[in-house]
């Protein structure tokens, strides 16, 4: 690794995402327009390594690692609280009664006003695909993730929009064509006015991490899945194998335990780190990977 820092630009380079320029240390403004919210959002403070930036935090949150971003949407509507990953209303204000009665109903659709006309935004899809006999099959409804489903709704912050809720309490998922009744709700501002900080009344301290695993170390062992490999790696120390295909190790394998052969993660295989290893010695046994290889 070389040492010399490059001179820093004070203005952004056209085309290159600000987030990249910030990580590369090539964008360090001394002045930012007070209305330049994207610049404020992307700013990397002096002395901060790239790992402090949201650019390095995963957002395919099931449930996530650093934060569970899904929580930011729970209180988007004034008066109700949504489940972080479902269209289920889990909490309501006590008044008025019609709001209070929405508890455990499901939000099926939102009608979003826009400059080019209204958008009927469904919040539920049907999952489908071939069953074991090859026949296309409906596997049931599923709520869409909030971030993409509400992408146009954020601009309606401070305004009332029409929401379509199930007519009855629905403990189980319902499809996009479920009977609904309409209600008008106020949308909260996503950001504090005039700033790029997530609004204070949208999430309270502790809420952005509340649905992560407790403790997080447990998830590193238990999940046995690799959707966050750029933060929690899966396949490391990879080399071209003699037959052509690659060979390498599972990040969770005990190092030096034998020939370099990938071991699928199934919680209990010998040669893989155990819960106890990670609870008690995570700093020692979890390795940093630089250029795909163990490097502490």
């Amino acid at each position: 690794m070389t040492t010399k820092a490059r001179p820093k630009n004070r203005t952004a380079r056209a085309g290159v995402p600000l987030a990249v320029q910030a990580m590369e240390g090539q964008w360090a403004p001394k002045r930012i327009g007070s209305a330049a919210l994207h610049e404020q959002l992307s700013y990397r403070a002096a002395g901060n390594p790239p790992g402090t930036l949201p650019t390095t935090a995963i957002s395919n949150c099931f449930p996530g690692l650093e934060l569970d971003f899904r929580n930011v949407w729970k209180k988007l509507f004034v008066g109700i609280e949504m489940h972080e990953s479902d269209n289920l209303v889990v909490g309501t204000d006590l008044d008025p009664e019609e709001i209070r009665n929405l508890r455990f109903h499901r939000l099926v659709k939102v009608v979003i006003p826009g400059p080019e006309g209204r958008i009927d935004q469904p919040l539920v899809i049907n999952v489908h695909g071939p069953n074991p006999r090859g026949r296309d099959t409906n596997f049931g409804p599923q709520a869409l993730e909030w971030s993409n489903a509400f992408a146009y709704l954020v601009a309606a912050g401070g305004k009332k929009v029409t929401c379509e809720f199930t007519r009855e309490r629905e403990d189980n998922p319902v499809g996009p064509d479920a009977p609904t009744r309409r209600m008008t709700l106020l949308v909260r501002n996503f950001f504090e006015p005039g700033s790029a900080v997530i609004a204070r009344d949208l999430v309270e301290p502790g809420q952005l991490t509340q649905s992560l695993c407790s403790p997080w170390q447990n998830d590193y062992r238990e999940c046995a899945c690799y959707y966050w490999a750029a933060s929690r790696p899966d396949y490391v120390n990879v080399e071209a194998g003699p037959q052509g295909p690659s060979s390498g190790e599972n990040w969770m394998q005990v190092r030096g335990s034998g020939a370099q052969q990938y071991q699928p993660d199934d919680f209990s295989s010998a040669g893989l780190l155990t819960y106890e290893d990670i609870f008690r010695r995570w700093e020692k046994v979890l390795r940093f990977e630089i250029a795909g290889h163990d490097t502490d």
């Binding site: 690794m1 040492t3 820092a5 995402p17 007070s34 990397r44 403070a45 901060n48 390594p49 790992g51 949201p54 390095t56 935090a57 957002s59 395919n60 099931f62 449930p63 650093e66 971003f69 990953s85 695909g129 069953n131 074991p132 090859g134 099959t137 596997f139 599923q142 993730e145 971030s147 601009a155 403990d171 900080v197 301290p205 502790g206 991490t209 695993c213 407790s214 403790p215 447990n218 998830d219 238990e222 046995a224 959707y227 966050w228 490999a229 750029a230 899966d234 396949y235 990879v238 699928p264 106890e276 609870f279 995570w282 700093e283 979890l286 390795r287 940093f288 630089i290 795909g292 502490d296």
Partner: protein, 462 residues
């Protein structure tokens, strides 16, 4: 030079846990110019060394190399600085002692407050006394202020340390107003019952007051009120996934700054902070990040024409490549492996009722083969001949399409926040579509990459 308002930048700062007393040094991560799809290079960058006692920045230096653990093998925590910027005549500039003086203020007029919480137990039990919260209250001065996590259901006198915050004393060389959040160590804390002594740093939770130890998602009413995925807490391994009552020191919250002036309202601002696990692959980045979601919320799903660029598209593909490079794609494809079958989207789909079969043709998904494939995408993009790429990206509302064609869209083999196949943000996808020729069809894409183009439909998984 009248200060009209304040901001704290960055608006969201992520700290990363570690028990070393030496914070991680600063570095830049750069794409290698002679090897764009290669691993990014880590270069030392100006590192600020804080004297914890006085709160001053003692010196700065640029490290020759970056070590993520110290000599004792302890992880070096990532401890972010948060800077105060002043709104002066429509522009933000760093707030300094000199700017304060021009406004007849001093650094003694600057007050801070930090509030963080860990509501993991509360999220499960639904009982407010299970919230763990820390609040420094408003403070001045430059000593570290500990964030002691208090909880009604803790044993008397017990708390969980969530790290500390320190107002950095401005100096002639470093005159800016800033605060540093030093995160906690990454320890586990236990309850009176069900803990194993060696697992935990301390016993803090009073099992005679609260129900976290012994809690089970199985008891939730209605059942779907639980987290998704469910039962993600340390448990005794029984059929009910009974909680051991373990707690960690991850947290999130806000940092506030306030300056009381002669005006009616004080100048004030806040930012958000969080403390999570280390980034164990610091030269690689996720394909979809919290920054992408925040950008979509801030700027909308439709980038303007002058915002899209081939460099942005290239960065999205680079990140996909960086994830793929650290995945055993053969395992994640659902290929049978020596030693068993991995948990993958193929097996998750089977759990929904879909036929269990690999996502791509098994012969084409070896990690090195896919790396070569992504490199060819890079080369095509750079030569301006990859107009088809946008066509292979999954749309946000197609995540439930579990047909062969649907599952082979990009990003493939990854899981989204709803548990289904991952889609990029709509803004990311629109950026890719906006940066290239959209006349090509998905069949063009199919011929180039990601699927088995020569195998007849229906035979691909044999």
């Amino acid at each position: 030079m009248t200060i009209r308002g304040l901001r704290i930048l960055p608006p969201l700062a992520i700290a990363r846990l570690g028990s070393s007393p030496e914070p991680l040094e600063n570095y830049d991560v750069r794409v290698a110019e002679n090897d764009p799809p290669g691993f990014r290079k880590i270069h030392g960058a100006e590192t600020l060394v804080v004297d914890r006692h006085s709160g001053t920045i003692r010196r700065s230096y640029t490290p020759k190399s970056i070590r993520f653990k110290d000599r004792q093998g302890r992880v070096r925590p990532v401890a972010p600085f948060l800077e105060v910027w002043a709104d002066v005549d429509g522009a933000l500039v760093p707030l300094t002692a000199a700017l304060l003086a021009k406004n007849k203020l001093t650094i003694d007029d600057v007050e801070w407050r930090a509030q963080v919480g860990n509501h993991k137990a509360f999220r499960r039990t639904g009982k407010a006394p299970d919230r763990i919260d820390a609040d420094t209250g408003w403070f001045r001065g430059h000593r570290p202020h500990p964030l002691a996590g208090q909880c009604e259901n803790f044993l008397d006198g017990k708390s969980i340390p969530f790290g500390d915050v320190q107002f950095i004393r401005p100096s002639r060389r470093f005159p800016e107003i800033r605060l540093r959040f030093t995160p906690p160590k990454g320890l586990i804390y236990g309850a009176v019952a069900r803990h194993r002594k060696a697992d935990v740093a301390d016993i803090v939770y009073d099992s005679s007051r609260g129900t976290w130890s012994g809690y089970s998602d199985d008891d939730a009413v209605p059942p779907l009120i639980v987290t998704n995925p469910s039962s993600i807490y340390a448990n005794t391994g029984d059929d009910r996934t009974t909680s051991r009552g373990y707690l960690d020191d991850e947290c999130d919250g806000i940092v506030e700054v306030r300056i009381v002036t002669s005006r009616k309202k004080p100048l004030q601002a806040f930012a958000r902070i969080g403390a999570g696990p280390p980034d164990f692959a610091p030269d690689s980045f996720p394909v979809r990040t919290i920054a992408d979601d925040l950008e979509q919320a801030l700027l909308g799903p439709d980038p303007k024409d002058d915002e899209v660029s081939s460099a942005w598209t290239e960065e999205i593909i680079r990140r996909a490549f960086e994830t793929v490079r650290l995945q055993n794609t053969a395992a994640l494809n659902g290929n049978p492996l020596e030693g068993g079958v991995a948990n993958s989207m193929a097996s998750q789909d089977a759990g929904l009722g879909r036929a269990e079969e690999p996502i791509m043709a098994p012969a084409i998904v070896d990690s090195l083969a896919l790396q070569a494939l992504h490199q060819s995408v890079f080369a095509a993009l750079r030569s301006g001949s990859a107009p088809w790429f946008g066509q292979v990206l999954r749309q946000y509302d197609d995540v439930g399409d579990l047909t062969d064609r649907g599952r082979r869209r990009m990003p493939a083999m990854m899981r989204g926040s709803d548990g289904l196949h991952l889609a990029l943000t709509r803004r990311q996808r629109n950026a890719v579509l906006g940066s290239g020729n959209q006349q090509a069809t998905s069949e063009d894409a199919r011929a180039v990459t990601f699927t088995a183009p020569t195998t007849p439909p229906g035979k691909e998984t044999e």
